[in-house]
């Protein structure tokens, strides 16, 4: 018998004296916990590889680490799998497929195998709305990469400067003294 039904029938048998605690036991399910471990799997291996490559093209390694080092691909899978604020899965899937299709047409290989310059050209087509579903994909994907990067440890502490305990407030701090802009 289902545990829930079993408890309900016990209430029926014993009556009201212990109603409150048992009712609570029946109704109680613990507060849900946000998954901070590995993300729920959203992508096929091929999709994941393309997301990884394209995220690095959006925020590349330069004098500071890029999207891959900052864990952006995993962040995106988390967002689409279990941290979603809005569900953008279909937009992302369609955009990835359109980019792949165009890459095969133009370069004779899937986008993940294309060169960095070719991937940039594919992203530019998407950005300019010259692929089916390209513009909404680009907008959503770009925002996921940006948010994932600038909320990562690398984004917060290396690309920007983080003041964990500023101690003071200066509302006219000279911009000239700022080496990297402050993380919020």
């Amino acid at each position: 018998m289902d545990r829930r039904i079993a408890l309900a029938s016990i209430v029926g048998m014993l009556g009201a004296n212990i109603f409150a605690p048992l009712a609570r036991a029946i109704a109680y399910q613990p507060n849900p916990v946000i998954n901070t471990g590995a993300p729920e799997i959203v992508f096929t291996p091929a999709q994941r590889a393309l997301v990884t490559a394209l995220s690095e093209r959006i925020l590349p390694t330069s004098d500071t680490p890029g999207a891959i080092a900052a864990g952006v691909p995993e962040y995106i899978e988390h967002m689409l799998g279990d941290w979603a604020i809005t569900d953008e899965r279909a937009t992302i899937f369609e955009g990835l497929a359109a980019i792949d299709m165009r890459s095969i047409a133009d370069y004779g290989k899937p986008a993940v195998k294309a060169s960095a310059a070719q991937q940039d050209a594919l992203l530019t087509l998407a950005m300019n709305g010259e692929l089916s579903g390209g513009a909404p994909f680009f907008e959503a994907f770009r925002q996921l990469v940006i948010t994932g990067y600038y909320t990562s440890e690398i984004g917060i502490t290396q690309e920007r400067e983080y003041l964990p305990v500023p101690g003071e407030y200066d509302g006219a701090y000279p911009y000239a003294k700022v080496k990297r802009i402050f993380s919020s």
């Binding site: 590349p60 962040y75 003041l163 964990p164 911009y175 802009i181």
Partner: protein, 558 residues
Amino acid sequence: MAATDRFDAIVIGSGVSGGWAAKELTEKGLRVLMVDRGRMVEHGEDYPFDGKSAYEIPARGKMPAALAKSDYFALNGWVSPATQPFFINDRLNPYDYDAPNKFNWVRPSVVGGKSLTWGRWSFRWSEADFEANKKEGVGTDWPIRYDDVAPWYSYVENYIGVSGGRENLPYLPDSEFMPPFPMNVAEKWLKERLESEFPGRKLINARLSNITEDKPEQNRTRCQKRAQCDRGCSFGAYFSTQAVTLPAARATGRLTLRSDSWVTNLEYDPAQKRVTGVRMVDANTGQVEVVQARMVFLCASAMSSLHILLNSRPAGSERSYFHSNGALGSAVMDHIFRVGVSGDIPGMSEFVEYGRRPGGVYVPRFRNLEAEDLPFKRGYGFQGAAGRQASAPKGFGLSMKHGMREYGPWRFTMSAFGECLPYDDNRVMLNHSKTDRFGTPLLRFDVRFRDNEIRMMDDALEQGMLMLRKAGLTNVTGGRGKHVPGEAIHEMGGARMGHDPATSVLNKWNQAHDAANLFITDGAQMASVSCVNPSLTFMAMTARAADHAVKQMSAGVI
């Protein structure tokens, strides 16, 4: 709890009001039991995300939509993974409303209540606030005036520490201030422009319960400009029960604190007109207990206090002992909210902000201070701040990444809080056909905003945009979102204070007309709500009521 434990007073709730009641009553020599339905949170050690950066917080600090929808639906954007530990699970703790009149009832789940997560803006009411109902013939008159509360404002302000600037405004009396958090260069520019374009209107420093000077005697350190207050602050830099009132009450040796105790109702002797016991259910075991004391301070938060009062009823009756005149549960209010305006402040690009203030600037109420021909009564104020975000270049790749290393222009944003009038048919009641996990009928809301509130929101949007434009801001935008009552988390009223026992629940000392040993000092007491943030007033009123209660107890009246 041992059967031999004896208490002079029971304080129900441990938030802003309950904490103050416990502090005052224990310091005056009473043995006090403070109970809270929430779990225990100790100062510092139980703030899991204090000092953590975004990457150390689940889901990078943004609440997953599915979880917000399933379990935290009343919070509607308020709860974040960093504050989730302090808020109640709505799925497990339902309430009720008529579908067209939704109410977002935001509730804490911890000892300390909303004092851990509150906005910390702290204002005195003015003489005009206390007089407005009588002057306009709206609702019921307050049985007290500013002078009755002023010394108690001073008393609590000196203890908790309130930062702000002296302005000598009759409609927004000064507190006992610590130095304010300074305005930044863009806000100073805006102040000058706005005040010269709109004579009589002011832009002033925020008034906050964040302290700008140490309070070593309370083991509290001045604000460190982290702006992460609602995760709990180990520095004790803002007022919370944990940082301020609980240590004081514990230091007396006369406080017993019991968490995880859901008070379902008060037991009452109609012949003696006295509360005779407090019935509570242990949230972990379901064990029911009735605890007795000479006096009860009900500070469970406005709507929860009403819930307890409405559920305090004779066996077999659906009508509360305290519902003798129909006032209980009526004239529930919330502040208007959800009006915001923004604009770019030109220039000053050679300056940025260093550090993160817990609050910025305030535009005090300017409407209906004198007789004005406006389509609404009362007024609103704006809370805001100027700051610079990273610029947002288009495109992608290296040019975008390096473009985002620059700051964009100064941008100023402010949002309105306005006064809602007391309407007797904005009410809460019990729904006897649905019960919670402790067998208590659900609290049912029937509260909505009326023409006065809608017109005020329209005016706030119009005036807000006008002020920014005329002050010289560019790219001025504004919006007026749908406002579900409760969302300002300033829900108040329902057990109002009044002269007349026929139309109010409490007398001028927060003492129930129907029970001399029952005091209600949270937001339920309010007969009107001003447009300023209410918590400082709850603190002052609680201290005042505790003083009166102990004097009455000493005199043998209670």
